[in-house]
């Protein structure tokens, strides 16, 4: 409760982060895979003395520079901005533990972004060997950023036993490498590398599809070469997924399976459904890549390529959504809950109170403060995961009973695997029940709660 809450009506702060992150993943993974694509394509063209290929690669590098240098960089900053507002406690915890990692990532990123510009602007201005070296510097530095970010992202799902044993002692940064090379680091890196290669091929199809009709033979060659970048995913992705699956915690596996037999377990069956969308869209990309691009490269037009990009966006979006969801109820596995409360803090907060130490409690009533601190991070009033809808017509007593289940977390609780324990004293629980009853049964719209700017 040390930070102000960010109230985003209808979609919630969670989807502001989600929308920026999905867009960023599409671009940033292309930035990594595309670097390797450019380096290898230029190597092939120089070896085979294909000046026509070099011209295609030059044009592609311009598209690459604009897309990754502008949209990738801007959306990357957007992620920092939005996660800082949406989950300040988690962001703070990550910075405190990984400041060294992020410093390294920024070094790699600076080299990456500078080399991308130099690579494009030195076409035909430096000798071929130097230019190829620039391509390789870019490819290596961009892959370095992926490795570092992957360590931090996979840490959030599986921090590992050694780091967790030190959590809360103030010595966590001493376990940097153990946290970095956490149980899902390698399978996650394998998955992301395959995605990078696939996206390199997918985005290259956009450039290749725009080659003029009189360059039919060249277009066919470039399109087929680009389609080959999807082949590693076709064969290795199922294996990488199984590897990842074997390393994720039992609770996360349960979340993925929850939606196989039902749509009835609240919103968490969405994880299964999102996974199905990934499977369907990925299979469609492969079908289009084979039947339209590989078999008929000359007839492969920009419309086809854009369709593949949108399918890739759907696949990326649903995968990232599922990956975020399987971490529930934590933002940092076994350490920090999705409402920013540390697992080890809960007993203390139950004893002394969740709102007592809050600097904001002079301006809001306790119930609203509890709602803002522990509900609004994942729920909205009337939109995504609507509190009013989920209260489902409960009266004051029904609401209090539900809050008691969330607080006590009995073994039979249907919410236990998905939602953090509700922390607070009996008086705070009572105030929250009153506030929720007020929202659900006494008014249809609370003007104040949807105007984040008017409150801290």
């Amino acid at each position: 409760m040390n930070y102000p809450t960010w109230d985003v009506p209808l979609i919630g702060s969670v989807w502001v982060v989600g929308a920026i992150a999905i867009f960023h993943v599409m671009i940033s993974h292309f930035a990594v895979g595309g670097g390797l694509y450019l380096a290898l394509a230029e190597r092939k063209a120089v070896r085979e003395q294909r000046t026509d290929w070099l011209e295609v690669i030059r044009k592609h590098s311009k598209f690459f520079l604009i897309l990754t240098g502008v949209f990738g960089a801007v959306s990357g900053v957007g992620i920092w901005f939005s996660i800082g507002l949406a989950s300040p406690e988690s962001t703070s915890a990550l910075i405190h533990n990984f400041v060294f990692g992020w410093a390294m990532e920024w070094c790699f990123f600076l080299v990456e972004i500078a080399t991308a510009g130099v690579y494009y602007y030195t076409w035909h201005r430096v000798d071929a060997r130097t230019h190829q070296r620039l391509g390789w510097i870019y490819a290596i530095s961009s892959y370095g950023t992926l490795v570092l970010i992957n360590g931090i992202l996979s840490f959030m799902l599986t921090p590992g036993d050694r780091w967790l044993a030190a959590a809360g002692t103030g010595t966590e940064p001493a376990y940097f490498w153990s946290a970095f090379f956490n149980p899902t680091f390698w399978p996650s890196l394998a998955l992301r590398t395959l995605v990078c290669c696939s996206l390199a091929g997918v985005w290259a199809l956009v450039t290749a599809s725009r080659l003029e009709e009189h360059l039919g033979e060249l277009k066919a060659e470039v399109i087929r070469w680009s389609v080959r970048w999807l082949i590693p995913s076709f064969f290795l992705m199922p294996l990488a997924v199984l590897w990842y699956w074997s390393e994720v915690p039992e609770n996360s596996r349960h979340l993925i399976q929850a939606g196989v037999s039902t749509i009835g377990s609240g919103l968490f069956t969405q994880v299964t459904r999102a996974t199905l969308v990934t499977a369907m869209t990925s299979a469609t990309i492969l079908a289009i890549a084979y039947f339209l691009a590989w078999r008929n490269p000359r007839d492969f037009h920009l419309g086809h390529a854009v369709a593949v990009v949108f399918l890739a966006l759907a696949a990326t979006g649903s995968t990232e959504h599922a990956r975020e969801m399987i971490r529930k109820p934590f933002t940092i596995g076994q350490y920090m809950y999705s409402d920013g409360v540390r697992r080890l803090q809960v007993a203390e907060l139950n004893r002394v109170g969740y709102t007592t130490a809050s600097p904001w409690n002079h301006s809001l009533d306790v119930g609203q403060l509890m709602f803002r601190g522990q509900c609004l991070n994942c729920h909205t009033l009337d939109g995504y995961r609507s509190i009013r809808r989920l209260l489902n017509g409960r009266d004051r007593k029904g609401i209090a009973n539900m809050l008691a289940i969330l607080h006590d977390q009995p073994k039979t609780s249907p919410y236990k695997n998905f939602m953090p324990p509700l922390a607070g004293t009996p008086a705070e629980m009572d105030a929250l029940a009153n506030y929720l009853n007020h929202l659900a049964n006494e008014q249809q719209a609370v003007a104040g709660v949807s105007r984040g700017a008017t409150h801290p």
């Binding site: 196989v260 039902t262 009835g264 969308v277 369907m280």
Partner: protein
Amino acid sequence: MATSSYPAPESPLRSVYRWADERLGLADLAAFAAHKRVPQHAHSFWYYWGGISLLFFVVQLLTGILLLVYYRPGKEAFESVRQITYDNDFGWLIRSAHSWSANLMVFALFVHLFSVLFMKAYRKPREFGWWSGLGLLSLVMLFGFSGYLLPMDQLAYFATKVGLQIPGMIPGISGMVEDLVRGGPQVGEATVQRFFALHVVILPLVFLPLLGFHLYLVQKHGNAVPPGEARKPAAERRTIPFFPNFLAQDLAMWLIALNVVTILATLFPWDLGKMADPLAPAPLGIHPEWYFMSQFQLLKVVGVIVPGFGGEIAGMGLFGAATLFLAAIPLIDPDSRFGRRAKIAAWGGALVMIGMIVLTVWGYAAL
């Protein structure tokens, strides 16, 4: 080196093809497909909608068969759908795909209907194609109406109850509706049983031969070209081979349609309401499915202008007149010689289409 006098061995795949070809005449079929050509012009996009409708029908056929494995009509109808939706592995997905493809099929059929109308593809010699298409659309709407009741939840119960009141108002047949369709004075187990028989046996028995007839006519007469294209000299008209070019594009459209069904079915699965309770009050804003909304709103509007029984008859008369007009279009505008008749068909068709859209939007806005 001595050479063998034996022929080179055939690949296994080639052997299988030859075996099948000798018995089924596959080579003739391939040769026919290679010679068949499809016109290419600015309006070619509309050619795909018949095929898309067919894909949605295939999805319904397959998912419907899977639903049949668990669905139990009669007393246990609701419970069996509850099990499919909440207990059986991927039951919710099969049910959602069935429902979404049904709705998408109706939408695709309407697009197909009006694209055929505005491209004047009902003209000689394609009249029977138009009539069989209208027949298929009517049967599909009956499929939708009969399938809607089968889960037997609150919404299905009351929507069917309201829906059956409409034919029940027609003088002379109201008693027959009660006896034959509803199976009694109230919608109940007997109605579900009858609707089930209609949905999975009677309608498919009529639909499948009619679909076969429609496809035969499409095959026989080929794709019609719109009048503007037909007026061009033969040398300026473009065509592409049906196999593999058009078929590849058709399959790509199928792939897109399949993705749409899957994404809708997975992200917005079809929910199930509370079990039907005849004694409970009807849910607020009860209304039919979207493809019956224009008729529903028409009856409401005419009922306000002409209150009472006369209004109901007038409303149904208007709806009947629009249907008759659509059926008579090939007779009104039989070929390209009749300029004035062609205009009546086009403007009349536009009026029906705009009327349906306006009434549907109005119907939802008025809920």
